[in-house]
């Protein structure tokens, strides 16, 4: 079970624009390093962040385009070891990506559909994913866990 991030979690607000994604990535990597998150978890979380932001910008419509996106990063102790949690908040139409169906992996190049890969990557790479609507905002929580080296 994941516990909510501590109140001292790091925050960033970005415009819903692909040019802002790299600033968000830099913030995530710097924040992850300061929270002593291992490189592997930072790499995966960075990919998840990019995919979630890309989905918001591509599919979020006018409500996303006209409001900033809030990001929050914090540690989240888990029973089995350590954890880090990224929270993404937006004001777009409610969409629970946790419940969205994943497309099956293609069996051949002819069958391959280039869509839906972003969500597949997020669901494959994260250890936990939670969604809720809170005070008119979508809130997506993505967690990574690891066991500390002794």
């Amino acid at each position: 079970m994941t516990i909510a991030p501590r109140p001292c979690a790091l925050g960033l607000e970005i415009d819903p624009d692909p040019r802002e994604f790299r600033r968000a990535s830099s913030w995530l990597r710097a924040g992850g390093a300061s929270l002593e998150v291992p490189e592997e978890q930072i790499d995966r979380l960075e990919l998840c962040l990019n995919e979630v932001l890309a989905n918001l910008v591509e599919h979020g419509g006018d409500a996303v385009a006209s409001n900033p996106i809030q990001l929050e990063l914090g540690t989240s102790p888990v029973l089995s070891g350590c954890g880090v949690q990224l929270v993404v908040c937006d004001r777009g139409e409610p969409f629970d990506s946790c419940q969205a169906d994943l497309r099956p992996l293609p069996g051949s190049l002819e069958q391959a559909s280039p869509g839906g890969l972003g969500l597949l990557l997020v669901k494959t790479f994260c250890d936990e994913m939670h969604y809720r609507v809170l005070e008119g905002r979508n809130e997506l929580r993505i967690s990574m866990h690891w066991t500390p080296r002794s």
């Binding site: 692909p18 040019r19 994604f21 790299r22 990535s25 830099s26 990597r29 710097a30 790499d43 995966r44 960075e46 990919l47 990019n50 995919e51 890309a54 910008v57 992996l105 293609p106 069996g107 051949s108 190049l109 002819e110 069958q111 391959a112 280039p114 869509g115 890969l117 972003g118 597949l120 990557l121 494959t124 790479f125």
Partner: protein, 127 residues
């Protein structure tokens, strides 16, 4: 402290024709929405306009988002329709490898760690 995100942002696409019907295309840098926007047209033009064998070298890619995967898959499909074929080279790039594995791309585009094995696979005549 250096910023690994901005340090790896310079994207590039280079190519070398190893023979009349075998082309090597090297992609490098950060293949996110911005990066793919910069290389998509030249990459597609190099990869999918002639019925040849194409090795796409991803060893220099520092970040591979789904938009980059889409670009590669679309070019592979277009090349396949023209009668050509594509293989991917990842070398020891574990980040790119894990991204490719997550979507099962090796099931649809042959993926290699070793360059000579990749080239050998493309030199085998198609049945």
């Amino acid at each position: 402290m250096s910023d690994p995100v901005n340090a790896g942002t310079t994207v590039f696409v280079k190519h070398e024709d190893l023979s009349e019907d075998l082309r090597r295309i090297c992609l490098g840098g950060r293949l996110d929405m911005i990066g793919v926007g910069e290389i998509e047209l030249p990459f597609t033009a190099l990869a999918a306009t002639r019925p040849i064998a194409v090795l796409v070298d991803l060893t220099g890619v520092s970040f591979l988002a789904s938009v980059g995967l889409r670009c590669i898959i679309q070019s592979a499909k277009a090349l396949d329709l023209k009668g050509g074929r594509m293989a991917l080279l990842v070398g020891d790039n574990s980040l790119v490898r894990s991204t490719l594995d997550a979507v099962g791309i090796a099931e649809i585009i042959p993926t290699f760690v070793d360059e000579s094995a990749a080239l050998d696979s493309l030199r085998v005549p198609q049945t």
